[in-house]
Amino acid sequence: MNGQGLGFPLFPPRASALADRVDALFFFLLALTGIVTLIVATLVIVFAVRYRQRPGRVIAPSQTAGSTLLELAWTIVPGLLFVVPFVWGARLYVDAAVPPPNALTITAIGKQWMWKFQHQGGQREIDSLHVPLGRPVRLLLTSEDVIHSLYIPAFRMKQDVLPGRYTTVWFQADRAGDFHLFCSEFCGTAHSRMGGQVTVMQPEAYERWLALGASESLASRGAKLFQQLGCNTCHRGDSLQRAPGLVGLYGRPVQLTDGRIVTADEDYLRESIVEPASKIVLGWQPIMPSFKGRVTDDELLQLVAYIRSLEPPAPEPFAPEGQPLFPAQRRQGG
């Protein structure tokens, strides 16, 4: 099947649970379309040869105008058959949009022409990504310049990476090894070089790898920035504060002055820092200045990691961590 005997592969490696499920759907589609194509091709060839023009036959023996019954049949039957791949594909897509609550978050920034990854412990890597086997990993993605797309064929996973917005994607690797990582959205001159590899490691090996590169965690860097930028003068978290408290905010629904209710996900936090006026929390004045241009994309991710880390003393079991992010939808909403 994968063509080892040929010296080159005909089928990509599978390294995630999703990959098996996508391949199953792929083979279903291959069988369905293969059978129909074969039937059509056979009929065309058989009819063309069997009913070829014979000497003396100026016109066809049959001049039928059609058959409503047949027309209905070949309209309705494909329509019904299509329900299967639609529902199946949609089901997998929706599942792939919702990361499990215990997923490990790794940030990724795309820029012309490299991928910069950062783990929660502050470990950085460029054009390579180390992840643990058997644990859900959620990638929080953004771009410093143009649109890129993070594509890992072995996981059957792809997500566009946009400037000025966070997108997320998740996977759970189930096979150790090195796999391709590509940029699949054209991004300029060295687009075809913008890639590297994902290394799936045994959990213990991953822990050792993390320990080697350990530095200050993202949240702790974010906490320092929070002080330096003076965020804490308003977001004080006590009765004197002039801005909403941030403890336990992440993942919670927020009521806005314009009546909308949005979820405080990472993209909301990012937007509230760079464009605070676009979403005002009910009960507060629009007094926050924009930090656009004052913080880099890296620093933004650190601030967001810090705010995320502010857990209330007794954490309540919120569903929101696991909620899908619909940035585009939220923008259009309201």
């Binding site: 080159f8 005909l10 759907l25 792929f26 589609l29 369905l32 379309t33 129909v36 194509t37 059509v40 009929l43 065309v44 009819f47 063309a48 009913y51 023009q53 036959r57 100026v58 016109i59 066809a60 001049q63 039928t64 105008a65 059609g66 027309e71 070949w74 309209t75 494909p78 329509g79 299509f82 791949p85 639609f86 594909g89 949609a90 997998l92 897509y93 310049d145 649109i147 797309s149 594509y151 064929p153 059957r156 996973m157 792809k158 997500q159 946009l162 917005r165 997108t167 590509f182 699949s184 959205e185 054209f186 300029g188 687009h191 075809s192 619909f326 940035p327 585009a328 939808q329 259009q332």
Partner: protein, 544 residues
């Protein structure tokens, strides 16, 4: 039981070709037939430029490390290949060449409704083409034919503005041709030629024209916004300026998905002519095939989001677009089934146009079937922006549309030139193209599922063999396309003289001489029955 129309030998009568032979008589003509030929010459030249770009791409991809051309050059090659083949070849191909030539004759008319506007369309096309060629000569453009923002507006350093302006200009040529065809079909039909007596090629051109008129302005506006953002920095698409890059994708695909149907509906129309003619049998399910064209034109406007399943669009929107994408596949399937049923109990012969028609059914079905993979959300996530998509749309646009164009060109060549092409060479070329095409593009499906992204100047070594196969196929394909270019030109002088109706066709263009007189018909035909009626013979009385 008459089929063969008596070829009216009128050696002393002037044909549309003999009324004037000066350059002026061609450049100032308002004859739809001559304008069709002007288009044929122009798009053939553009096809050669686009083909040269493709040739260099396939040569570069012969080795994993690329290296034949710099990455930057490779990016310009695929951009120019895409821009030219989409807007300067495929979109005008069947409508502006074969449509211009045949449509008024199929309607029993002397010309299109607005002959001078028709000539203006061609001049606009030429102006846009020169703009684009100038861009190529002065350094090219590297955004891809999709001009995604903010790359195209803020980051690309190549000639984005002159390219978008070239495409903008050529858009008006599309709009005016569409408008002309719509009005012509409404107003210029011969007495008795009711809507349900129209040949299916007319129905498909009508559906295409609706899309041309409704969708092209959206493209024009979008390209102007890109230009304004690039020149003046107004924030429409660039998030750094407060814009939204996904807005560009929505606007672009709102045009460009319907444009895919501009690039296949006319091809389906040609096939609907070829199959009955070479089966000597009435087309099966005429009303359903005609209705399917309109259904495709309408539904085609509702599926643009399927280009954006990984773009960061909402999950709910993705679900709706996926479902609608399955829906739009149904009318295409209806057509394939009806063509197949037409062959049943026919009297099938295998002249060159029919070989192209049979090839079309196979290639279009394969391309359409792989569209079902792309409509399925989770599979699309894996294969979008890979060679799977490249293979899919080349099966539709080259395997489908170009094959249909070649079929139509051979079918109407006797009418256009008054000469027959060499039949055996024609068959050989059709089979060469079919083989070369499959060898070029089938490996790309496998490459795509393996995960090779599109628009890559180099690739990991395990993709090497399949890329070499693809390049080998492309060289066979090139021979296949060069053959007709040579023998059709040869036939202009040395081809056997064609009779009025060499194939026993039943539509009105076969009731006039080959080549036709300047005003098509000696007398306006009166139509008493539908097309493809092999019992009653050609539409229109022959009282002359």
């Amino acid at each position: 039981m008459i089929v063969a129309t008596v070829a009216l030998e009128r050696p002393h009568e002037e044909t549309y070709l003999s009324v004037g032979t000066t350059a002026r008589s061609w450049l100032l003509t308002t004859d739809h037939k001559r304008i069709g030929i002007l288009y044929m010459v122009s798009i053939t030249l553009m096809f050669l430029v686009g083909g040269v770009a493709a040739t260099f791409m396939r040569i570069t991809l012969l080795s994993p490390g690329g290296g034949v051309v710099a990455m930057e050059t490779y990016n310009k090659l695929f951009t120019i290949h895409g821009v030219i083949m989409v807007w300067f070849f495929l979109i005008p191909s069947i409508p502006s060449v074969l449509g211009n030539f045949v449509l008024p004759m199929m309607l029993g008319a002397r010309d299109v409704a607005f002959p001078r506007l028709n000539l203006a369309s061609w001049y606009i096309f030429v102006a846009g083409s020169l703009f684009l060629l100038w861009t190529v000569v002065t350094g090219g453009v590297d955004t891809g034919w999709t001009f995604y923002t903010p790359y195209s507006t803020q980051y690309a350093t190549s000639h984005v503005v002159s390219t978008t302006l070239g495409v903008f200009i050529v858009g008006f040529s599309s709009i005016l041709t569409g408008l002309n065809f719509i009005v012509t079909t409404h107003r210029m039909r011969a007495p008795g030629l009711t809507w349900f007596r129209l040949p299916l090629f007319v129905w498909s051109l009508y559906a295409t024209s609706l899309i041309l008129v409704l969708a092209t302005p959206v493209l024009g506006i979008t390209l102007i916004l890109v230009t304004l953002e690039r020149w003046l920095g107004i924030g429409i698409f660039d998030p750094a300026l407060g814009g939204d890059p996904l807005l560009f994708q929505h606007l672009f695909w709102f045009y460009s998905h319907p444009a895919v149907y501009i690039m296949i509906l006319p091809g389906m129309g040609v096939i609907s002519e070829l199959i009955p003619t070479f089966s000597r049998k009435r087309l099966f399910g005429y009303t359903f095939v005609a209705g399917a064209s309109i259904a495709i034109a309408v539904l085609g406007f509702l599926v643009w989001g399927h280009h954006m399943f990984t773009a960061g669009m909402s999950t709910h929107a993705a679900l709706v677009f996926s479902m609608l994408s399955y829906l739009v596949a149904i009318p295409s399937a209806i057509k394939v089934f009806n063509w197949t049923a037409t062959l049943y109990r026919g009297a099938v012969s295998f002249e060159t146009p029919m070989l192209y028609a049979i090839g079309f059914i196979g290639l279009f079905t394969t391309g359409g079937m792989t569209g079902l993979f792309l409509a399925s959300l989770a599979v699309d996530v894996h294969v979008t922006d890979t060679y799977f998509v490249i293979a899919h749309f080349h099966y539709i646009m080259v395997g489908g549309m170009v094959t249909a164009y070649m079929g139509g060109l051979h079918y109407w060549w006797p009418k256009i030139s008054g000469r027959m092409y060499p039949e055996n060479l024609g068959r050989l070329a059709a089979m060469t193209i079919f083989l070369g095409f499959n060898l070029t593009f089938f490996p790309q499906y496998i490459l795509g599922y393996l995960g090779m992204p599109r628009r890559y100047a180099g690739y990991p070594p395990e993709f090497h063999v399949l890329n070499v196969l693809s390049t080998a196929g492309a060289s066979i394909l090139a021979v296949g396309y060069a053959l007709p270019l040579a023998y059709l030109l040869w036939s202009l002088r040395y081809g056997e003289r064609a009779s009025a109706n060499p194939w026993g066709g039943t539509t009105l263009e076969w009731t006039t001489s080959s080549p036709p007189p300047e005003h098509n018909f000696a007398h306006t035909p009166i139509v008493t029955h539908g097309p493809y009626d092999y019992v009653r013979g050609p539409q229109g009385d022959q009282r002359g």
